[in-house]
C-alpha cells in the first residue's frame, strides 16, 4: 500500500473507533447525542498538549481517553436532568460550548488557529496504521463484548423504554452514565490518534458538522449494529475519495444519501442485511 492509501486506511480506522463510541451511547443505550465531536476534540487537544509537553503516547493517549470520559460523564449528568426530548439539543449545545470556548482560548489551546507541530508518535506510516488498526479492532471487540453482556442487555432495555426498565430494577441513570463514559472515552482515543496522525488540529475539526458526520455513520450503518456501523463508516469516509469526480458535489451527495437512507431504509445497512438474510433463509438456501 502506498503512503496515500495508508493514510486513508488510518483515517477509516480512527473514524471507526469514533463511530463505535457513538454507537454505544446512541445505539446501545438510546441516548441521541449531537455533540460527539466535542469529546473527539477533548481527546485530540489533551493528547496534543501532552505530546508537545514531551510525554509519550503511552501517557497522552490514556489521558486523552480519561479527559474525554470525564467530560462525557459531566455531559451525561446534564442529560439526566432534561426531558429526553431535549437530550439531542442539549448535547448539541454542549458541542457548541466546547467549540466556543476552545476558539477563544488563545493562551493554551491556540484559539482559532489550533495546535500545530504535534510531535510524531515515533512510528512510520505503516507502523502507525497497524497501531490504529489494532485499536479499532479492539474497539470493535469491546463493543461486541458489551453488546453480549448483561450490561448490553440493560442498555437495550433503557433504549427501548426507560420507565419500564426502572420498573425492573434497572438503575437507569447509572447505565446512561456508563454508556456516556465508555462512548466518550472511545471518542477521546480517536481524538488522540487523530492528533498524532494529522500533527495539526484546529477547532473546526470538531464542530457540529463533524458530530453530524459521525451520527450519520451510525445511522446509515444501522443504530446499534456493530458491523453495520463499521461498514458504513468505511464507505462514508472513503466515498469522497473513490468518487473523485464528485469532488465539488461531495457534500451534496452526502446530504442526499443521508436523507435517502433515513427516508427509505431507516434501519440502515444492518436492516438491509437482515432483509437479504431473511429472504435467503425463507427461500430455503442454507444460511
Amino acid at each position: 500500500m502506498g503512503i496515500y492509501e495508508l493514510s486513508l486506511a488510518t483515517v477509516v480506522c480512527i473514524n471507526i473507533i469514533l463511530a463505535l463510541g457513538l454507537n454505544m451511547i446512541t445505539g446501545f443505550c438510546g441516548q441521541i447525542s449531537l455533540g460527539h465531536a466535542a469529546f473527539y476534540g477533548v481527546g485530540a487537544y489533551t493528547a496534543a498538549l501532552l505530546a508537545k509537553a514531551g510525554f509519550s503516547a503511552m501517557v497522552s493517549l490514556p489521558f486523552a481517553m480519561l479527559m474525554a470520559g470525564i467530560v462525557g460523564v459531566i455531559v451525561g449528568l446534564t442529560s439526566l436532568r432534561v426531558r429526553h426530548d431535549f437530550l439531542a439539543i442539549t448535547t448539541m449545545g454542549a458541542g457548541f460550548l466546547f467549540l466556543g470556548i476552545v476558539r477563544q482560548e488563545d493562551r493554551f489551546l491556540g484559539g482559532e488557529l489550533g495546535i500545530s507541530s504535534i510531535p510524531s508518535i515515533g512510528l512510520d506510516k505503516a507502523g502507525y496504521f497497524l497501531l490504529v488498526l489494532l485499536l479499532a479492532a479492539l474497539a470493535a471487540a469491546f463493543s461486541l463484548y458489551v453488546k453480549r453482556s448483561w450490561m448490553g442487555f440493560a442498555f437495550e432495555a433503557v433504549a427501548d423504554d426507560e420507565d419500564t426498565a426502572r420498573m425492573l430494577s434497572v438503575d437507569v441513570p447509572a447505565y446512561k452514565l456508563a454508556a456516556f463514559a465508555m462512548g466518550t472515552a472511545m471518542a477521546g482515543l480517536a481524538g488522540g490518534l487523530y492528533a498524532y496522525f494529522a500533527r495539526f488540529i484546529m477547532p473546526d475539526d470538531f464542530g457540529f458538522i463533524t458530530s453530524i458526520t459521525i451520527l450519520s455513520m451510525v445511522a446509515v450503518g444501522g443504530i446499534g449494529s456493530i458491523f453495520g456501523v463499521i461498514i458504513a463508516t468505511a464507505i462514508l469516509t472513503l466515498m469522497p475519495e473513490f468518487f473523485r469526480f464528485i469532488g465539488n458535489y461531495k457534500l451534496l451527495v452526502y446530504g442526499i444519501l443521508l436523507f435517502a437512507v433515513m427516508r427509505f431504509a431507516p434501519d440502515g445497512l444492518a436492516g438491509l442485511g437482515r432483509l437479504v438474510f431473511k429472504r435467503r433463509v425463507v427461500k430455503g438456501e442454507t444460511p
Binding site: 432534561v82 442539549t90 448539541m92 454542549a94 460550548l97 466556543g100 477563544q104 451520527l215 451534496l252
Partner: protein
Amino acid sequence: MLALFLENVMLYIELLLQGLISGCVYATIAVGLTLVYSLLRILHIAHAGLFALGGYIGLLLTNTTGSLILATPLAAALVGVLGMAIYRLCYQPILNRPPYVALIASIGLFIAMEEIFRLIFGPYGLSYTQPPLQTTYTFAGMTIRAVEIVIVTGSVLILGILSWLAQKTRMGVAWRATVDDPQMAESFGISVLQVRYLNFFIGSALAAVAGVFVSLLSNLVEPTMGGVPSYKALAIIVLGGLGNVAGTMFASLLLGVTEAFGTIYIGEYMDRDAIAFAFMIVILMVRPQGLFGRR
C-alpha cells in the same frame, strides 16, 4: 462622573436594542420550529434551509422587480408551499419511526439544500443591487437603521397576528386541539392533515421572512447562512417550552439580549454562539422543562 455613567447607560441601551433586534429575528425563525416540534415532535433542521431559501428568493425578486414589498410575501408564499411539500414527501412517511430517523433525514435535507445554494448561486453569496431600507435615524445619540425598525415592527406585527389567529379563529383552535391530542381532535372532525399542512406553510413562510430580514441586515445571502441562527433557534424552542409560541418569542428576545450583553462581558472566554448555548444549559439545569415548559 455623570458623563461616565451616562456613557454606560447609552451602551446598555444600545446593547439592549441590538439584542432585541436579533431577538426578533430569532423569534421569527424559532416560532416556525416550535410549531413543527409541538405538532410532530420532530426537530425540523431543514427549516434552516428554508430560511436561507427565503433570503435568496427575497433578494433575487427584489433585485429583479425593485420592490421589496412585493418580493417578501411572494418569497414567503413560495417557501411556505415548499415547506408543505417537505412535510408530505419527507416527514409523513416516517412519522412512526424512532425520532432520530426524522432528525437525520432533516439534517441530510438541510446539507443538500445548502449545497444546492452553493452550486447554483456560488459560494460567496449575493447582495442587493440597491439595498433597501438603509436610511439611518439618530436620536438620543444612537443610530438605528430603517431596516432594524422594520424588523422589529414587522416581527411583532406578524407574530402578534398569528397569536391572535391561534386564539380566536377556528383554525387556530383546531391547531391547538391537534397539538394537545391528535386522536381526540380527529374525533371532533378536525382534519389533522390540514392542520399539519397549514402548520408547515406558516412555519416555513415565517422562516422565509426571517431570511429576508437577515439578508437586509447584512446585505448578503450566502449558502451557509441558515446554520447558526437555526441552531440557536433550537436552543430557543427548548427554553420557550413546547408549542408555547409566546414562550418562544419571549425566550428569543431574552436570548438576543443575553447574547448582546454576554459578548461584551464574557466574550473573551467563549464566542457568541457558545454564549447562547451556555445560557440554555444553565437554564435547563435550573429548570429542566425550560423557562415555560410544563411539568
